[in-house]
């Protein structure tokens, strides 16, 4: 196949800035803490998924960003479950949740390790949650980098698509630590297999390091 990969859908979730395919979504409640802000965004999107509330912060953020990016992409209709890969990165791993779990075991006199928190003390769980929601069974990997690294994403995703290990890949960065958060997800596809006529056609970009960086730098 021709090595022509396109970012066919993308989304940014930051405090004060929610942008999906160049459309800026208004966000009022910027002074809320992360937990309340993400809940209010979730409700605003009217997604019916009670399990959302059991997720840790990294998974909530990644889940919501994936929802926005995949909402109109019809990935399930155009690719088999095994053809879509997921590659997500961050800097803090699951430290946000690790601190919360450590609290449940810190005091020996009040010692109640929480299994529902412990299960989220791994950064790749967000990939699991996204895969469950969107029924994606393909290649997946969680990698750590000190900061958003577009070259790392490009190398990893190119590798999957070049060798037909995946035909489409959801990739990006999902970072939460205390009240600092940002998520960027990109749906990358072969030019030949993407939808020719779609609403988001304008905001599509060639899958390059420059374009990943340009999207990263967008402000709401």
């Amino acid at each position: 196949m021709n090595k022509n990969y396109v970012i066919t859908s993308w989304g940014i979730l930051r405090r004060g800035s929610v942008i999906v395919n160049d459309k800026i979504e208004p966000v009022q409640e910027n002074n809320l803490n992360f937990a309340d802000l993400i809940k209010s965004l979730f409700r605003k999107e009217q997604i019916s998924y009670p399990k959302f509330f059991k997720m840790d912060n990294v998974s909530k953020l990644g889940f919501l960003c994936a929802e926005l990016v995949l909402r109109d992409s019809r990935v399930a209709g155009r690719y088999s479950k095994e053809e879509t890969g997921v590659v997500i990165t961050n800097s803090a791993s699951s430290l946000d949740t690790d601190h919360i779990y450590q609290e449940t075991i810190r005091d020996k006199a009040n010692y109640f390790p929480s299994p529902s928190v412990f299960v989220y003390t791994l950064p790749n769980i967000v990939i699991g949650e996204i895969c469950i929601r969107h029924k994606l069974n393909g290649e997946n990997a969680f990698l750590i980098s000190e900061s958003f690294d577009p070259a790392l994403l490009k190398r990893q995703v190119d590798e999957l698509l070049d060798h037909d290990r995946a035909a489409a890949c959801l990739c990006g960065w999902v970072e939460v630590l205390k009240d600092r958060f940002e998520a960027l997800l990109f749906l990358v596809e072969h030019a030949e297999r993407m939808e020719s006529d779609s609403e988001g056609a304008q905001s599509r970009k060639e899958f390059t390091v420059e374009n990943l960086t340009e999207i990263y730098n967008k402000q709401g």
Partner: protein
């Protein structure tokens, strides 16, 4: 018993992060697992923590879990029984 049942419903909602569920939504006799609230294996483990944290009750044999956690009412009955002992 009804007091305990109401208290338990509140505690379960908090312990299991059942965000959009209110005390009135939970039927004390409905199965907690399978249908109803559709709780899963992690929720079952959290209920064990709830019993220990809020009532000081340690479950001797985890296999008893199915019976104890069948419904809010069976939980309340178990707690009452253990507290008498």
């Amino acid at each position: 018993m009804e007091e305990l049942i109401k208290k338990l419903k509140q505690e379960v909602i908090v312990q299991l992060n059942l965000e959009d569920i209110s005390v009135d939504d939970i039927d004390a006799d409905a199965p907690l697992f399978g249908e109803g609230l559709g709780l899963d294996s992690i929720d079952a483990l959290e209920l064990i923590v709830l019993l220990e944290k809020n009532y000081g009750i340690k479950i001797e044999d985890p296999k008893d879990g199915k019976k104890i956690f069948f419904s809010i009412r069976t939980m309340a009955e178990y707690i009452t029984e253990r507290q008498k002992a």
